[in-house]
């Protein structure tokens, strides 16, 4: 008995030795910042005196900031447009690629290439495409005798321009996952449906889509979470002061680091974003957990 006890203590110590570094980095850079972030949202930090409690003041300040509502509205607009443009497109492209018998590797590799580019490269490159004077897009529009656009420089098309960039660069991930899911649908189901006289559209609706329901839901949730954190496109292309494109993340950045230098306000905004994203993330985890 005594020996077993000693051995157990030793084994546990060894195990914790292996985990020590992992626990330390999680404690310092994940668990502690989470708690500190919540505390911070109720505090005033000025780096001269110690932080002190201000209750709900930070939340009140940001609620009264007109930019707060603008930022949420813009973020929702970005997420909505990204869903409209970016959600169905990769699905239908995946269905199409799954049908063709040639060049599958080419499609898979090319669509994923943009994901290998650093996001800043993508944004600067598209800024060059969007250039109203000599950019590629307006040159093509001119060539086709279509009206030119001011792209990100016009308040009516600014958000759409940002969404196009995000859609182009991130479509590959969803498409590859859809393709994998499509390959798991048993061929006999299509055969049986066809024998019973189901048309292509009926087969798509009654065989393909029901089998894709899980992955469609997962990617919907993931895309919402990802697009609500949009930062680099507005930051680089339209700046942190442009009310047409200021998003929640840009506003957090502004509160903390550029204009206000107020970490309490930024923390309050972060907590709100975290709560909203947390709902979608929790849904995502539940959906995937159920699957297992």
């Amino acid at each position: 008995m005594q020996r077993v006890g000693v051995q157990q203590v030793k084994d546990n110590l060894t195990a914790y030795g292996f985990m020590a570094a992992g626990i330390a980095v999680f404690a310092l850079f994940s668990w502690y910042p989470l708690i500190r972030g919540i505390i911070l949202s109720f505090q005033q930090v000025n780096f001269v005196t110690d932080p002190y409690w201000v209750g709900m003041e930070n939340y009140q300040t940001i609620f009264e900031d007109p930019l707060f509502w603008t930022a949420w509205k813009n973020t929702l607009k970005f997420t909505g447009l990204a869903l409209l443009l970016g959600y169905a497109v990769p699905f239908f492209l995946a269905v199409l690629i799954n049908e063709v018998r040639h060049a599958k590797g080419f499609f898979r590799v090319t669509v994923y290439l943009p994901l290998m580019l650093p996001p800043i490269v993508v944004v600067i490159l598209w800024q060059y495409f969007y250039d109203p004077g000599n950019g590629l897009f307006n040159t093509v529009l001119r060539g086709l005798h279509l009206p030119e656009s001011q792209w990100h420089q016009s308040s009516s098309t600014a958000m759409l321009s940002l969404v196009l960039i995000a859609t182009w660069s991130n479509m590959g991930g969803a498409l590859i996952m859809y393709l994998a899911a499509l390959q798991n649908i048993p061929g006999e189901l299509y055969e049986a449906a066809e024998l019973e006289g189901a048309s292509v559209w009926q087969r798509l609706r009654h065989v393909t889509i029901p089998h894709m329901r899980f992955i469609l839901l997962v990617l919907l949730l993931l895309q919402i979470v990802a697009t609500m954190q949009v930062f680099i496109e507005p930051y680089q292309l339209t700046g942190t002061t442009n009310p047409d494109t200021i998003t929640v993340m840009v506003l957090i950045f502004r509160y903390a680091f550029t204009i206000n230098h107020d970490f309490g306000m930024a923390a309050a905004m972060s907590v709100l974003l975290f709560v909203i994203l947390g709902i979608f993330t929790a849904l995502y985890l539940r959906v995937t957990r159920e699957r297992e």
Binding site: F18, G22, S30, L40, E99, T139, A180, G187, V207, V271
Partner: protein, 291 residues
């Protein structure tokens, strides 16, 4: 023959239509996903005057490969490139060492409260890094207990990168599938816990190590927002942050050199992708199935 939505018979009967659609798809994909790369690479070769003329030229009329050398030296793209490589390799190394050790302990050594710790680590998957931005920034500028200021040091990137719950999850799942019998047999022969990890678990785990390594490198290379905050001194910045700064001061930065900088920033991960595309694409597909 593989059966999908449309029957092979149907495709055979409508050969012409099939090949028309196929060629159309190839053309569209080439224009949408490959042409931008061509445009970036060739525009950088053009004379600065040619780039700003109202009608762009499809094929460069002037040829200035020295722009790439100028970007590398004058814009110091070389310096930032090496910074980024150094940060990415360090992030990868710390992620692998710290996360493999933790996942091994959680999977095979099963200490008391192991489940609680795993749960707490996985809970961080719920937290988007962006929501922690401000408190994490304050933490690295004054690390609790130790009192270090990591701002402008590589540690500000390396240590937070190691707190990667996704790695722990994937590695632990893989380690779970390694039969305990093999480890027990080796333990009877006198192998210690570290020996078991090094000589048995790791050699069996090459596929999962490859995938986590690639994603760690790609992630570190692409990282922008966090380095923007913690690498404020221009000389220690990574390539993404430096390019962002140069792009925002386009009046000062020669444009074709900036484009050459974009090409340099793209090369490493595009090469990694073309070499390891099978690993990356199948890793991604497998990940999506398991969730």
């Amino acid at each position: 023959m593989e059966r999908t939505l449309i029957s092979p018979m149907f495709l055979k009967r409508h050969r012409v239509a099939y090949f028309t659609v196929l060629i159309l798809m190839i053309t569209v994909f080439a224009i949408v996903f490959v042409f931008p790369f061509y445009w970036m690479i060739t525009s950088a070769l053009k004379d600065p005057q040619e780039v700003i003329q109202p009608t762009p030229t499809l094929i460069p009329q002037s040829f200035h490969p020295e722009t790439y050398a100028k970007a590398w030296n004058n814009l110091k793209i070389g310096h930032f490139f090496l910074n980024t490589a150094f940060y990415a390799l360090g992030s990868w190394l710390f992620q692998i060492i710290i996360d493999v050790a933790a996942a091994y302990a959680l999977s095979k050594l099963r200490p008391v409260f192991g489940g609680v710790i795993l749960g707490a680590m996985l809970a961080s998957l719920m937290l988007p890094m962006t929501a922690l931005l401000v408190p994490a920034y304050l933490t690295v500028s004054d690390v609790p207990i130790f009192g270090w200021n990591l701002i402008n040091t590589p540690w500000a990137l390396w240590l937070p990168a190691a707190a990667n719950a996704f790695n722990i999850y994937v590695l632990k799942r893989f380690f779970d599938q390694i039969p305990v019998d093999i480890l027990d047999a080796a333990a009877i022969d006198g192998a210690g816990k570290f020996r078991l990890l090094w000589s048995i678990v790791l050699p069996l785990s090459r596929p999962v190590l490859a995938v986590t390594s690639i994603f760690a490198l790609v992630g570190a290379w692409k990282d922008f927002l966090w380095p923007l905050l913690v690498l404020q001194d221009p000389s220690v910045q990574n390539l993404s942050v430096a390019l962002s700064r140069m792009g925002a001061t386009s009046g000062v930065t020669p444009f074709t050199q900036l484009l050459a900088g974009l090409v340099f920033a793209s090369i490493p991960m595009v090469v990694v992708f073309l070499v390891f595309q099978r690993h990356i694409l199948s890793g991604l597909a497998a990940g999506s199935m398991k969730g």
